[in-house]
Symmetry: C2
Amino acid sequence: MSIKIGILGYGNLGRGVECAVKQNPDMELVAVFTRREPETVSILTKEAKVCKVSEVEGWKGKIDVMVLCGGSATDLPEQTPKYAQCFNVVDSFDTHARIPEHFANVDAAAKANGTVGIISVGWDPGMFSLSRMYANAILPEGKDYTFWGKGVSQGHSDAIRRIKGVKNAKQYTIPVEGALESVRAGENPELATRQKHTRECFVVLEDGADGAKVEEEIKTMPNYFADYDTTVHFISEEELQKEHSGIPHGGFVIRSGKTGWGQEHSHVIEYSLKLDSNPEFTASVIVAYARAAYRLAKEGQSGCKTVFDIAPAYLSMESGEELRKNLL
Amino acid sequence: MSIKIGILGYGNLGRGVECAVKQNPDMELVAVFTRREPETVSILTKEAKVCKVSEVEGWKGKIDVMVLCGGSATDLPEQTPKYAQCFNVVDSFDTHARIPEHFANVDAAAKANGTVGIISVGWDPGMFSLSRMYANAILPEGKDYTFWGKGVSQGHSDAIRRIKGVKNAKQYTIPVEGALESVRAGENPELATRQKHTRECFVVLEDGADGAKVEEEIKTMPNYFADYDTTVHFISEEELQKEHSGIPHGGFVIRSGKTGWGQEHSHVIEYSLKLDSNPEFTASVIVAYARAAYRLAKEGQSGCKTVFDIAPAYLSMESGEELRKNLL
């Protein structure tokens, strides 16, 4: 009896979930729900159906876990509480400031309907949050650092594309090597925004656009670029497609802390990711937590959970005995 | 109402637990139990008592969690099931091959007496195991690597000290940088023992001992050194005390895996530790899990648990709301 997975929203993340389900023999994808016309959406899994989002409620009881692959800005705040009324759900809600509110909404809906909703799953929030939490619990006296990259920031790339005269653009967030080294050495540096990351932009101009003006506009853009050392490269559309079509990302979570009666010993805990495909990795984390959602619901639990609330063993295909024998 | 901690066994690990308890304001150390004469044992915590191990049963009900700081070879296999009859217990049992048997013994004792026993807590087994488990659940198709060091191996240092003509010795396990780099690059190398770690030994000879003979004996010692590239340095007792008296350790757990419909994307997950004091860090992990043992027992749970069975939030002083707000 495999775990029946549904995917709601079939963009990069939804396709990533589809691929991840294929790698997990205890699961099967049964349906993909889309806002587009189902005939126009071609999926990879032969055995799964493509359906309209409006039909989703008819699948109640036929899907064990619905993976919600919408965006955090407007989709998930509405979708996760809504679909938690019918299904166990997992989402990747990543607007850090609004997590408490989202948690409360999903918790109310899930408890009222006896379902499990796991929110904010992925790598940040997600695996990075876990790393921070474990490291804080182990070393209560210490300092946390998170560095992102090298990787593509979709939000920053979009911001550049909105500038007049820009045809296309890709932005990489890059951690400053010297800052990383100082943190790893346990020096506990105080780092300003500019000292932690640089931003590198590959920009395709529209015909006749003023490169100097575009560059100035990027570099002075508040919030996105003004506080960073930013490099702008103008390249052709062809080069952009050839060299910058991937969606790599990654980063580092480091906690440096002290132990000993007089705090005489230093320790550095580091967790890092180097990802060829940000959405596929996020999807792989989500699918492991979909297994947990299924199992928690089978146990009769309900309500909203985060990665902090779920014992690691729930994520694994292996039994407790196998885990203790092979991985402990 | 703070969590009342007892320590059984007051060596390096026991002292580390004492220091860690001091860093956690929701806990207090109430007693240390020793096989030595209590008058001869001087502890750092003024408020705590030093007692004979034989008195420990009289403390039933006065200690929330007993931290067992004995050795894995002979102490813990006997002690953990025994003291789980009276107390919630945490140990750092690290004989990987005997974990299933130890788990069964502790589980039976804990269930029969309504206590919680958490075994094999520390960094390996412990945090490294967690890293392996999470990474395996996320990337089911991939390969695991664990490197240890640079750090002092107590077992290897002891093995050298048993050689005739050796007065004192310290052995460092060192990961091979090129192997680490290859793994990080996602090359999935097949690595023989010799290709993963080297061993560096600092040896103090007895007066008149034959250095060449000792060196030969070290380098050819089966299991400990024969399969490694080993370097031997002869130094004075004074230099050993000055330069090599610390107990640093650490290591790297890396999983490299593939995602995508055709496994076209690579990912590398890395967890690493750089520790000034192996026993103090191990103790810090144990103390976080002592908090979990206390909470699980309060909930009415009983039996043996490992790091795989415990939701991360149980380790933290912060509430669920605080964790979601500050660390997710």
